[in-house]
């Protein structure tokens, strides 16, 4: 099975995240870039599927040069090879542009299964997997906390507000995973060393047959008109419980008309 895992480099949520004042896109220099946490679960699930069913795991990322760190991490976990979609023309692409660029690349490199995290910690749109399925014309198996493959059949448990749906389809397909699905492995020293020798193919917009008029900030379907750092929350009242903490809290709730 030819599995492609899409991974994204995001600013570390433990550091300050900003937008750039000039073009209102993510300031990638302000914060440390790390692999999006849910992408680690996606890589892990791809590796487990490969271990169970054979085949190959390819990491696909779209991002600037420094996103290669994220590729290395996925290769160190055990992925076989990587494709890095990197081109200045892609800067500032919105979800539609990003899904288009990734879909074009996926068509070019081929796949039986595409695996993604269900959301990134920066944009948090949660739409990319659905958009890829739409663009590729393949089944959408998203928000999975369990994935089973049997020959060309695939079934997942799709997490819902009320529990889960069991969803079935035929490969090729797009799967997105939630955190509950597995425990991602830590790269071993051997894995880290081996990752240095694994092939990373860099593709530009022309190589992947991406129409430059469909990607990038200027061609996005939406724009950030303005932004401002949110004012900090006003300091609240903090009391020490002296046997009446619950009563005081109820008083506060009453003052705000919650009770």
């Amino acid at each position: 099975m030819n599995i492609v895992v899409c991974v994204k480099q995001v600013p570390d949520t433990a550091t300050e995240r900003k937008l750039r004042s000039d073009d209102k896109t993510l300031d990638r220099d302000a914060a440390d870039g790390v692999i999006n946490e849910l992408c680690e679960y996606a890589v892990e699930e791809a590796l487990r599927l490969k271990e169970a069913h054979g085949g190959e795991v390819t990491v696909l990322t779209m991002g600037p040069d420094k996103a290669s760190d994220t590729i290395r991490k996925a290769l160190a976990m055990g992925a076989d090879k990587a494709v890095h979609l990197v081109d200045d023309a892609l800067h500032g692409s919105d979800a539609l542009g990003t899904s288009y660029a990734l879909a074009q690349t996926l068509k070019k490199i081929g796949f039986d299964l595409v695996v993604l995290g269900s959301e990134s910690t920066d944009a948090r749109t949660g739409v990319l997997a659905a958009m890829l399925a739409e663009r590729l014309g393949v089944p959408q198996l998203t928000f999975a906390n369990k994935v089973e493959v049997n020959g060309s059949s695939i079934a997942i448990q799709r997490v819902t507000d009320y529990g889960y749906d069991r969803v079935e389809a035929t490969l090729p397909a797009v799967v997105s995973v939630v955190e509950k699905i597995n425990d991602p492995r830590y790269p071993s020293f051997k894995g880290i060393m081996a990752a240095k020798k694994k092939p990373v193919e860099k593709l530009g917009v022309a190589d992947a047959e991406i129409d430059a008029a469909q990607v990038g900030l200027a061609n996005s379907w939406s724009e950030v008109a303005d932004f401002a750092v949110a004012p900090p929350r006003a300091a609240g009242t903090v009391v020490k419980d002296e046997g009446d903490g619950g009563v005081k809290t109820a008083d506060y709730l009453a003052s705000k008309k919650f009770v």
Binding site: A169, K180, S222, L253, V259
Partner: protein
Amino acid sequence: MSEILVLVEHVEGQVKKVTLELLTLARKLGTPSAVWAGPGYSPDAKARLAEYGAETIYLADSADINDYVVAPKAELLAQLVSEKSPAAVLVAATAEAKEIAGRLAIKIDSGVLTDVVGLQDGLIADQSIFGGGVNVQSRVTKGTPIVAVRPNATPVEAAVGAGAEEQVSVTVSEAAKSARVVERVKEEKGARPELTEAAIVVSGGRGVGSAENFSIIEKLADSLGAAVGASRAATDAGWYPHQFQVGQTGKTVSPQLYIAAGISGAIQHRAGMQTAKTIIAINKDPEAPIFELADFGVVGDLHQVVPQLTDEVVKRK
């Protein structure tokens, strides 16, 4: 006034509160039309949608729409957009509706905005990003704006609309039928409101100490008519089911009131709750970062404070 399509969220034939919020919002921007997809439509549902301003209710109640993941609903909306040329399409910013919005965006070649918390004239959308750290105004620049609005972002106001029903026949394409829902499994959670759309959420964390002790959190939640949430520490420990996790890798909630008990307030958690209107924190550790966010905080043992609070809430009702 131009038409605004609102995709109705419904469960077991009941219209969810977020839909009433969307209708309220749509009335300020144009003439709201409700789109009912799937089975379960009833006179009660019609009355509810009309009460909050739906002038037209488009009915596509074939079972086909419900039997496949997301794609048929996107096809239905795409069909309506091409027939009615609305000024915008509003959906709830729930996991499924955002996916519908995403697929619709591609079908009709239009921009999509997610997790919107306010919508002004000219369809300028307010978004709160980076876990509430940055406020953004954004807009769609191509096509028919598709906007996913967060539950609890809009106070509901009733204003009666005509509620004229219009049947929509939709043929679900073979491509949209490629991911079939073969079973729906409900996991028991009692009569509590849905976590992502609850007006009040009571969450427990590491300080709760055990799965059994979560009953303290549940009792407080029930006294307030609230949903129960949990921090990642609590779900990782197996004390509470994962689907109730609030945080960066879990659900995002923006309730009117959020009560965090025994939660330190690590970034992971804050990313999922800090846009709550009012935040109350109960924690033993006076240094816990959650107190930086709290409108009201109690430094104390939740095992003492929470039951006392529950008693007080019950008493004052």
